[in-house]
Point group: C2
Chain length 101, copies 2
DNA sequence: GTCGAAGTTTGATGATTTTCGTAGTACGGT
DNA sequence: ACCGTACTACGAAAATCATCAAACTTCGAC
């Protein structure tokens, strides 16, 4: 089971996306992913939470369609689904990222 | 108490805005307000909730800085704070409203 | 094959949130 | 002054959510 389930673009729902973005920890993750132009290993991010909590947050983001996660060895590389989000909700991501830190 | 407390533009925080938008009922309210180019009386909106629940949601939106509420007789007229939101998070509102129902 | 590193699963807990009913306030009209 | 309308306040119940610890899985390296 090397592939994790992701919603297709047309399965992404705005309610879930907003709910995923509405948590401070997840918003930080999204900001870090947006700042990098490559995928990142969330486990290396030094948020102040335990591993199991991180798992929960990354899954929430993945199931909402905000990030794509693919395994790489024992690690998980997460990337922002910029193109999908921009296609569905043009400007949303930019607006959020424009917010002062 | 004819004036209700609203956050100034520089007091609006993205976490609260996203949290306010992350509820289905509140998102419907925002969509209805956005569809009208005038302020609306939320109490006339026929969402499937009681009055006290509506009060709670409108207050959540107001305290987050999403809507401005001003009394008009016994009614309350709510308007989207388009300009403030656009200034703080350009594109966010447009992206959300672009989502298919 | 064993070990450690990275992540997941499960179950529990505490906090937050959504919701409602009831009672109360504020306003405008008669 | 009274009445009805629109809304608010106050609890309280139910649901959801974030968090953690402990046990388990998976993978790569030695």
């Amino acid at each position: 089971m090397t592939t994790l389930p992701h919603p297709e673009r047309d399965e992404i729902r705005i309610e879930l996306v907003l709910q995923a973005l509405a948590d401070p920890v997840r918003l930080r993750i999204v900001r870090e992913l947006a700042a990098a132009d490559t995928g990142l290993q969330c486990g290396a991010m030094d948020l102040g939470i335990t591993k199991s909590t991180l798992t929960h947050h990354v899954r929430t983001l993945r199931e909402a369609g905000v990030v794509r996660v693919h395994p790489q060895g024992t690690a998980r590389i997460s990337t922002l689904r910029r193109d999908d989000l921009e296609a569905l909700y043009p400007g949303l991501l930019g607006g959020i990222l424009a917010a002062p830190r």
